[in-house]
Each structure stands twice: as C-alpha cells, then as structure tokens.
Amino acid sequence: MSETVDARGLSCPQPVLLALEAMKKLTKGELIVLVDTDTSKENVLRAAASQGWQEAGVDEQQGAYQIRLRKG
C-alpha cells in the first residue's frame, strides 16, 4: 500500500511542501504524488531526488501526472 499526495490544482510551493512532508513521514517505501502542471512535476521530482527518492515512473492521465516515487 503506497501513500498518495494529491497536489492537483495547488500552486507553488504547495506541491513540493506536501510531497516533502509525506517523504519525511514515510522515511521509505512508495509514495504517489498527483500534480497537474509540468512545473509541479519537475519541482516534485527535483525535491524527491534531493531526499534520495527514486523516480519509479510518471503516468499522464486526463491532464494530470501521477508521479511514483520509491526509496529504500
């Protein structure tokens, strides 16, 4: 079971703040982040990399991105 952060429709820096909060809470495992702009997608991936989380795939559906992140 992976945790999901829904950051769709939120503007900077909320998606990164929410994603980082979830990463801190989980410490490792799988995390799904939903965003709806390319900027937020890039920002979340950049923040994840800085925390040692790996990108496990990005799916685009109905104008939104589902970012899968993994650690440990």
Partner: protein, 363 residues
C-alpha cells in the same frame, strides 16, 4: 535528470536563461529603455497603466511591448510544448489584491525584483535595501507557508479563459499600431505617450517586442522566478532557481561594464531615491505579496501566458495598483516617497499579513 525533455528546466538551462535575461536587459537600456530599467516588470506594467490612461502621471505612460512579448512568448512556448493548461479559481480576488499591494510596494521602492537586480548590477547601492526588504518579505511568506497558508486549488477551465490576458495584450499591441506615437505629443488617439521622463525612454517597438518574446519563451520553459529563487533557498535549501538569478546578476553586471552603464553610488541613481527605510519597506510588502501569490511579477506574467487565469488576475491587480499608486500619490520619485507612500506601505503590510494569517487550511 529530473527534467526529462526540458533542457531549460535543468540547472544549466536555468543558468543560461538567467544569463540571457541578464544580457538582454542592459542591451535594451542601451537601445533606449530607462536607466537600470532595461526590464522592470512592475515599472512596465505601471507604464502600460499610464499608456491606457488609468493614471495621468505624464512621465510614465507607454505601452511597453516587452510585457506584451512576455505574455505572448510564454504562450507560444506553452503551446509548442503542450503546456497550455487553462485553469482558474484559486481565490482570484485575493490574488487581485496581492497584485495591487505588490505594485504599490514595488513603486515605493521603484522596481520589481528583476529591477532590484538590474539596479544592483548598474551600481545603484539603494537597491541593497530593496533586496533586503524583498528577502525579508519572502521570508515572512515562508513562515505562512509552514503554518498552512493556502489559497486553495485551481480548477481546469475553458480554453478561452487562458486566452483572455494574451488577447488583451495583443489588443494593446494593435492599439499601438492604430494610434502610434507622435513625436513631442503626449497623446495619440486614445493612448498616452510620455514626452519626457522614463516613459519617453524606450527601445524601438519591434526590438522591445522581439526581445520580450524571447524572454517570455525561455522563462516559460525554465520557470524562472526571482521570488521563488529566495523562497526555495529559504524553505527547501534548494539553489535551482537561485542559480538563475545569480547568473542574471553576474551577466547584467558584466554587460553594464562593457556598455559603460555601471555607475556605482547612492546619490543621483536613475529612477531611484535614497530613503533606505522605505526602499526596504516597499519591497518588504512586495516580497510578501509575491510569496503569498506564488510568483514574482515576471513569473505571474509567464503563468498567465500558459493559461493560468489566477496569475492573469494578479497581473491585472498590478496594473490597477499602478493606477492607484499614481492617482493617490503613493509612488516614489527620485525626490523620495510619495505623499501617502508610507501610509500605503503600512496598509499593504497589514493587508498581506491579514491574508497570511487568515487563509489557512488545516491538512
């Protein structure tokens, strides 16, 4: 690595964008734009407000083609890379007022964050106080973010919503062709054109427009944001956006040296005053407003170009704010702050703090 397919969103891309903007602004100044104002988003929005007669300060009236280019260039980039996403509905009226007070604060200092950097790169020491105010305002903003400040989610909306601001800008450009500037005349048809002062100083229309399009395009791709640069540094210890503004500052400084535009000092700097406290205070309010709205005035324009209706409302707030700033004598002049500039700065701070304290969502 984390920005697949978008070179401009890499660290190198960001540095290149910052450097390009840092070179183009002093060049625009050389070609006619005012001193240390090759590009100033706040000043140029203010000049547009004057150009269409929303204020009657005769020295700052000119529809700046750079701004038109920023919006349209960002829109072209968004369409080419399939990032045009019409969206709106995240507390637009709040964003309008943030735009109004951001502009009032910026006009107490006399510049947006971009011009703060260009003033520094031109040797204007007064900009140090503006920069300190900007950073302090953004820092306050990060405290609100940590405490849960949030203006709510946007909604996906009709494509035509995203077109409104770009079409407005295109309309302004068409008006400039229908009612072109007439030498030594303050008015041409329904448009106002300064015959003296900063509004009368401008690069040729097509060069301003072309360079504006380039800046709009590359800034949309890179997500360049001067406010975000400091915010991400403070909030996340992240230097991605910050590397862009450092590149801008260095490139502008070198370009100014080459073009003979670097004149260090505090007195008699172009379109600047020496009241340290209010240089700080004006940008404190502006920095806080930009942080709460999620982007510097440039970034808001590029977002508006890619379909963000809320960012468009912020831009309109800035233009209306410029009208108030000059009609109510809030804007500073080289002699110092306007008659009611200090009162407006204090009111702006109270309004922004009120927004920060009262608009929180518990997770």
């Amino acid at each position: 690595m984390t920005a697949k397919g978008n070179f401009f969103a890499t660290r190198t891309g960001m540095i290149i964008v910052g450097a390009v903007v840092g070179i183009l602004a002093p060049v625009l100044q050389k070609l006619g734009n005012p001193g240390n104002m090759g590009i100033c988003v706040a000043c140029f929005d203010r000049d547009i407000a004057g150009g269409v007669g929303l204020h009657r300060a005769a020295v700052v009236q000119y529809i700046r083609p750079e701004i038109i280019g920023f919006v349209l260039g960002a829109m072209v980039a968004a369409f080419i890379f399939k990032e045009f996403r019409p969206r709106a509905g995240s507390a637009p009226v709040v964003r309008f007022f943030l735009g109004v007070f951001a502009m009032i604060g910026a006009l107490v200092f006399l510049g947006c964050p971009w011009r703060t950097l260009f003033r520094l790169a031109g040797g204007d020491g007064n900009a140090i106080f503006g920069l300190l105010g900007l950073v302090a305002g953004i820092y306050l903003g990060t405290l609100f973010f940590k405490a849960g400040y949030n203006l709510g989610r946007t909604q996906v909306t009709y494509s035509s919503v995203g077109w409104l601001l770009p079409l407005t800008m295109l309309g302004f450009l068409i008006l400039m062709f229908i009612f072109p500037q007439i030498p030594d005349q303050g008015q041409s048809g329904i448009l106002f054109y300064s015959v003296k002062g900063p509004g009368s100083q401008h690069a040729p229309l097509f060069i301003s427009l072309a360079l504006g399009l380039v800046v709009g395009f590359i800034c949309q791709r890179s997500r360049f944001c001067t406010m975000g640069a400091f915010r991400d540094l403070i909030l996340f210890r992240q230097i991605h956006l910050f590397s862009g503004i450092v590149a801008l500052l260095v490139a502008a400084f070198i370009t100014n040296l080459i073009l003979g535009q670097f004149k260090p000092g505090f007195e008699n700097q172009p379109v600047a005053h020496t009241m340290e406290l209010w240089n700080f205070g004006g940008m404190l309010v502006a920095g806080l407003a930009f942080a709460l709205a999620g982007g510097c005035p440039g970034r808001q324009i590029f977002l508006a170009g890619e379909g963000d209706g809320d960012a468009a409302v912020f831009v309109l707030g800035m233009i209306v704010g410029a009208g108030f700033a000059h009609n109510f004598q809030l804007a500073s002049t080289p002699q110092g702050v306007g008659t009611y500039g200090i009162a407006a700065t204090i009111i702006g701070l109270i309004v922004c703090l009120g927004i920060g304290f009262t608009m929180r969502q518990q997770a």
